[in-house]
C-alpha cells in the first residue's frame, strides 16, 4: 500500500465511519445530525473565537499526547499523564505565586521549568519502581493518578487556598505572569484574533515541543536508544543501552511533557490553579498518541482533531438540548475506529491496492523474494 494511503486514506475512512455511527446515535436520541455537525464545525472552526478554543484544547492534548507517545517509543505505557499534569499545575502555581516575575516571558520560562520538574518527578517514581523493582508501570501510574489527586486536594485546601475562599483553588496569579493570548500575539501582524478565546502562547511552546520531540526521537542518540530499547530489551542490553537509564529518562521526559501542559490550562487560561484543572486531558493523551501513531506530527494533528471535538461539543451543549455525553460517545467512536478497528479499513484497502498493482504489472517478473518493505 502506498504511503499516502496508509497515512491519509486509512485514518480518513475511519473518521468517516466514526462520523456515520455518531450520526446514528444523534438520530437515535431524536436530534438532527446534519444540524449538529454544522453547529460543531461553525462553532469550532467558523470563527477565530472557535479556533481559539479548539487550539486551546489542542494545546493541552499535544502535551499529553507527546507524553504518552515518547513513552510508547520505549514500550512503556504511561497512563499517568493525568497525575503528572496535575503536579505540573502545582509547579506552575508555586512558580507564579511565590516568585516576583518582572515579565511574562521570564515567568513562562520559570513556570515551564517548574511544571516540567514537577511532572517529571511524579513520573520518576513509577519509572524507578518499574526499572528497579519490576512493578508494573501501568498499574503504578494509575495509582499515582489517584494519589496526585489526593495530594493536590490536600495542598490546595490546606495550604494554597486564600483565606476565606471556598474554592479549593489558589489565588489568582499576579498580572505579570499572565501569558499573551493569540489575540495579543497576532494583533501586531494585523490579524484580529478573538480576544475572548484562551489559546495562548503555550500553543507555540507545544508546537516547539512536537518539533523537539521529533528531533529527539529520530535524530539524537538518546532517541535512537529509546526506540531500540522499545523494540527489544535484550538487544538493547547487548548494545550497552541500560534499561534502567532509558526507563528513567524516558519517563522523566514523558512526565515533564505532561507537566508542561499546565502552562496552558493553569497559567494561560485560568491564571490560577483549580482542583480539576486537568479534566481528563491525560487520558485523552492516550487516544491522541495512538491515533497519531506516536509520531509528533501525528500527535499534533490528532490533538487538533480532539480540540475540535471538544469545542464543537461545547457549542452543541450551548445551543441545543443534546446532552454533553454525546461528545463522550463521539470521542469513543473516533478512538474505536481510528485506533482499534483501523485494520478493518486497512485490510480491504491493502487488497485493493495489491490487485491494482498486480493489474498494472502484467506479468509478475521474477522479482527477488525479499519483500519491498
Amino acid at each position: 500500500m502506498p504511503k499516502w494511503a496508509e497515512v491519509v486514506l486509512v485514518p480518513l475512512i475511519s473518521l468517516i465511519l466514526a462520523a456515520i455511527l455518531s450520526a446514528l446515535v444523534i438520530l437515535g436520541i431524536g436530534e438532527d445530525p446534519v444540524a449538529a455537525v454544522k453547529l460543531m464545525v461553525t462553532g469550532a472552526l467558523g470563527s477565530t473565537y472557535g479556533w481559539g478554543y479548539t487550539l486551546y484544547y489542542a494545546t493541552n492534548f499535544m502535551f499529553t499526547g507527546l507524553c504518552v507517545a515518547i513513552a510508547f517509543h520505549a514500550r512503556l505505557f504511561n497512563i499517568g499523564g493525568e497525575g503528572q499534569a496535575m503536579l505540573g499545575g502545582l509547579g506552575v502555581a508555586l512558580a507564579c505565586l511565590y516568585i516576583p516575575w518582572p515579565h511574562w516571558s521570564l515567568a513562562l520560562i520559570g513556570a515551564t521549568t517548574m511544571a516540567a520538574l514537577f511532572g517529571a518527578a511524579w513520573a520518576a517514581i513509577p519509572a524507578f519502581l518499574q526499572a528497579k523493582r519490576g512493578s508494573h508501570i501501568v498499574i503504578t501510574t494509575i495509582m499515582f493518578n489517584f494519589i496526585a489527586a489526593a495530594v493536590l486536594n490536600y495542598i490546595l485546601v490546606n495550604m494554597l487556598r486564600p483565606k476565606g475562599s471556598m474554592d479549593p483553588a489558589t489565588a489568582r496569579f499576579p498580572d505579570a505572569t499572565n501569558l499573551p493570548t493569540l489575540h495579543d500575539l497576532l494583533a501586531p501582524i494585523g490579524i484580529n484574533f478573538s480576544k475572548a478565546a484562551p489559546a495562548n502562547i503555550s500553543l507555540l511552546v507545544a508546537i516547539a515541543a512536537c518539533f523537539f520531540l521529533w528531533v529527539l526521537i529520530w535524530r539524537t542518540r538518546l532517541g535512537y536508544e529509546i526506540r531500540a530499547y522499545g523494540h527489544s530489551e535484550s538487544a538493547a542490553k547487548y548494545a550497552g543501552i541500560s534499561p534502567v537509564k532509558i526507563t528513567m529518562i524516558t519517563m522523566i521526559i514523558s512526565g515533564g511533557l505532561a507537566g508542561m501542559m499546565a502552562i496552558n490550562n493553569v497559567m494561560g487560561e485560568s491564571e490560577r490553579l483549580v482542583l480539576n484543572a486537568t479534566e481528563g486531558a491525560g487520558f485523552i493523551g492516550i487516544a491522541v498518541a495512538l491515533m497519531g501513531r506516536s509520531h509528533p506530527l501525528g500527535v499534533f494533528l490528532a490533538a487538533i482533531l480532539f480540540g475540535f471535538l471538544y469545542q464543537g461539543g461545547a457549542e452543541l451543549a450551548l445551543w441545543t438540548s443534546i446532552p454533553r455525553e454525546l461528545i463522550v460517545v463521539i470521542q469513543a467512536l473516533v478512538i474505536l475506529f481510528t485506533g482499534a478497528l483501523d485494520n478493518m479499513v486497512r485490510m480491504p484497502l491493502e487488497k485493493i491496492f495489491l490487485s491494482i498493482r498486480n493489474a498494472r504489472a502484467p506479468k509478475p517478473e521474477r522479482k527477488p523474494v525479499e519483500p519491498a518493505e
Binding site: R221, Y224, R227, A239, L354, R357, V369
Partner: protein, 524 residues
C-alpha cells in the same frame, strides 16, 4: 517444472503425499510458485534451499498452518482439503516447526495432550498420555520427563516433545523443519537413528535442512528449492553435495574452509577464575581459565546450555561475574557498575551475538540503523548533538557492498532480510570495526550454504590480520573447520583445550559429554 523422474514413476504404491501446483503469496512476496512434489511412503524425503526459498511455507501449507492461494493436496492418492491444522492431523500429518510451537510454562505432558485431549476433563487425558509416552519412549528411545516444564528443558529435549506430540497423534507423515539447527552432534545422530526407525515402520518423513551431510546420510530422495520454486528432485544416491549446493545457490560453492596455518602472537584475552551466577542463583560459569592470542581462532565447543552463552555475555559486558578478565593487559570490569556493552567496545572488543534476532539486531530498525547499533555513540556517526544519519547510511551502503548483503538496500527493515543476510549485516558491523578481539557466537546458525562459505572466509580473513577470535558454536564441524585451538565446555567448566589439528569429532564429542581424557582412556 521438474522432470518427473524415473524413480517416482517406477514406484507402484500411491505417493504418501502429492502436492500439485501450490502457490502462495504473502502480500507482495511470492513465497511458493506453482510447486509440485511427490513423496513416496516409507521414505525420508529431504528438502534443501537457501534462506527464504519457501521451504517452511510449503510445509506449513501441507500442515494447514497457511492456506495456499492455489494448488491441490493428495494424501495417499486421495485429494484432501487441508484448511487448518486439525485437518492435517486428521490426515495423519505431524509437523515439527523450525520454531517450536510449545507452551513454555506448561509441562511436557500438557503440551502433548494440548488439542488432542480425550474428553473435557484433563485428568484422564493426562493419565492416558503418560502411559503412551512411556510406550513411545520404549519404542523409539524418546525419553522425556513428562512433568518437566518446557522452559526448564533444553532445546534438544523440546524437539523430542514436538516429535512425541506428532507420534501421540498417530502421525504417519512427519515433517521436520531444520531439526538439527539446535542440536549437538550426538543429539543429531540420535535423532537420525529415531528417524530411521520410524522409516522402517513405514512412516513417511520430510526433512528440511541446510546441512548437505545430513541429506546425504539419511534421505532417500531430495528436492531443491530456490526463490519459491522447486528446481529439482533427485535420488540421494545419484547426487553429490557439490551438485546439490550448486542447485541450491545457482553457482559453484566451496565446501571447505581454505585457511593457512595460524600465526599466534601475544595474548589478547586472558581469563582467570571467571564465575557467573545467574538471576535464579544458579552458577553458570564455575571458574573459567582461557587465553586467546592475536592471530588465532579459539573455538569453544559444547552442548548448548553449558555456559557458552554466559561466557559471551559476561565478556560482552551485559552479564555480571567475578574473577579476572584482561584484554591486552587491561582489566575489564565485571561488576556491571562501570561497564556495559559500550565500554567493551571501547576496549576494542566486537561481539557477534548468538541470537541475531534477539540481540544483534533491532528487527524493526532499518539496515542502516542497525549498522550503527552499539556504535551509535561513535564520533564518526555524530554531528554536534545529533546523529549523522547521512554518514551512517553511506557507511552502510559500503558495508553492504563489501559483505554482499542482498538486497543492498539500507532502508529495508532488518526483519525483511533473510536470516543469512541478517547475519551478514551483524558481521559487517562488527568485523569492519577492526576489533582486537572478536567474540562470535553461532555464526552460521540457520544460514544457507552460500552465506556460510562467505562468513567463514571473513572470519579467517580477520584472523589473518592478526586479530584474536573467540568462536562459540554448537556445530562441531564448524568448530573443527575454523578453529586453530578448541576448548570444550561442560557444565560451566573448561574440560580441556586441544589443537584443532590434533583432535577429532570423537574426542571432542566425549569431552562435550563431560568425559575427561582420563575417563575416556579408562573407558576406551
Amino acid at each position: 517444472m521438474n522432470d518427473k523422474t524415473d524413480m517416482e514413476r517406477q514406484a507402484t504404491a500411491a505417493p504418501a503425499i502429492e502436492l500439485k501446483g501450490i502457490s502462495k503469496a504473502f502480500g507482495p512476496v511470492q513465497a511458493n510458485k506453482d510447486i509440485s512434489i511427490r513423496v513416496m511412503p516409507g521414505t525420508i524425503h529431504g528438502i534443501i534451499g537457501e534462506n527464504g526459498a519457501g521451504k517452511s511455507t510449503l510445509m506449513s501449507i501441507l500442515y494447514g498452518f497457511y492456506k495456499a492461494d492455489k494448488g491441490e493436496i493428495f494424501i495417499s492418492g486421495e485429494k484432501t482439503d487441508i484448511p487448518d491444522s486439525q485437518a492435517a492431523i486428521a490426515a495423519g500429518i505431524g509437523m515439527v516447526f523450525q520454531h517450536f510451537k510449545l507452551v513454555e510454562n506448561f509441562t511436557v505432558l500438557e503440551n502433548i495432550i494440548l488439542g488432542a485431549e480425550d474428553g473435557r476433563l484433563l485428568k484422564p487425558s493426562l493419565a492416558k498420555a503418560r502411559k503412551s509416552l512411556l510406550k513411545l519412549a520404549d519404542d523409539y528411545g524418546l525419553k522425556v520427563d513428562p512433568d518437566a516444564l518446557i522452559q526448564d528443558i533444553g532445546v534438544g529435549m523440546q524437539q523430542r516433545v514436538e516429535i512425541l506430540k506428532a507420534l501421540y497423534r498417530q502421525a504417519d507423515i512427519l515433517i521436520l523443519d531444520e531439526p538439527t539447527g539446535v542440536l549437538t552432534p550426538a543429539e543429531a545422530d540420535q535423532l537420525f537413528r529415531i528417524l530411521g526407525r520410524l522409516r522402517s515402520e513405514g512412516k513417511t518423513i520430510i526433512l528440511i535442512t541446510h546441512k548437505l551431510r545430513e541429506i546425504m546420510d539419511i534421505t532417500d530422495t531430495v528436492s531443491v528449492m530456490r526463490r519459491g520454486e522447486m528446481t529439482a528432485t533427485v535420488k540421494t544416491t545419484e547426487t553429490s553435495p557439490a551438485e546439490l549446493a550448486e542447485l541450491m545457490v545457482g553457482r559453484k560453492v566451496l565446501l571447505r574452509v581454505d585457511k593457512a596455518p595460524a600465526q599466534p602472537r601475544d595474548v589478547v584475552l586472558d581469563i582467570h577464575g571467571l564465575r557467573v551466577v545467574d538471576e535464579k542463583g544458579v552458577e553458570r560459569l564455575r571458574g573459567i581459565d582461557l587465553q586467546v592470542r592475536a592471530g588465532e581462532i579459539l573455538g569453544v565447543a559444547g552442548v548448548a546450555g553449558n555456559g557458552q552463552s554466559e561466557l559471551l555475555e559476561v565478556l560482552g559486558g551485559y552479564q555480571t561475574g567475578t574473577g579476572s578478565v584482561q584484554v591486552k593487559g587491561q582489566a575489564l570490569d565485571l561488576t556491571g557498575k562501570q561497564s556495559d556493552g559500550q565500554s567493551r567496545r571501547n576496549h576494542g572488543i566486537a561481539h557477534v551475538p548468538e541470537d541475531r534476532q534477539r540481540e544483534g539486531l533491532i528487527m524493526d530498525y532499518h539496515a542502516w540503523e542497525n549498522t550503527a547499533f552499539g556504535y551509535h555513540k561513535d564520533p564518526s556517526y555524530r554531528s554536534g548533538i545529533l546523529m549523522n544519519n547521512a554518514a551512517i547510511k553511506a557507511d552502510t551502503v559500503e558495508k553492504m557492498e563489501r559483505f554482499d548483503v542482498r538486497p543492498p538496500n539500507p532502508k529495508l527493515a532488518a526483519k525483511n532480510f533473510s536470516g543469512g543476510n541478517q547475519q551478514k549485516i551483524v558481521l559487517a558491523r562488527e568485523i569492519e570495526r577492526n576489533p582486537d578481539l572478536l567474540l562470535i557466537g553461532q555464526p552460521t546458525r540457520g544460514v544457507d550454504i552460500g552465506a556460510i562459505e562467505f562468513i567463514h572466509q571473513q572470519i579467517v580473513a580477520l584472523r589473518d590480520q592478526g586479530k584474536a577470535i573467540l568462536l562459540v558454536s554448537v556445530e562441531l564441524e564448524e568448530i573443527l573447520a575454523l578453529s586453530d585451538r578448541v576448548a570444550v565446555m561442560f557444565d560451566g567448566q573448561i574440560m580441556g583445550v586441544r589443537d584443532a589439528a590434533d583432535t577429532d569429532e570423537k574426542e571432542l564429542g566425549l569431552m562435550m559429554a563431560g568425559i575427561t581424557d582420563a575417563d575416556a582412556k579408562i573407558g576406551g
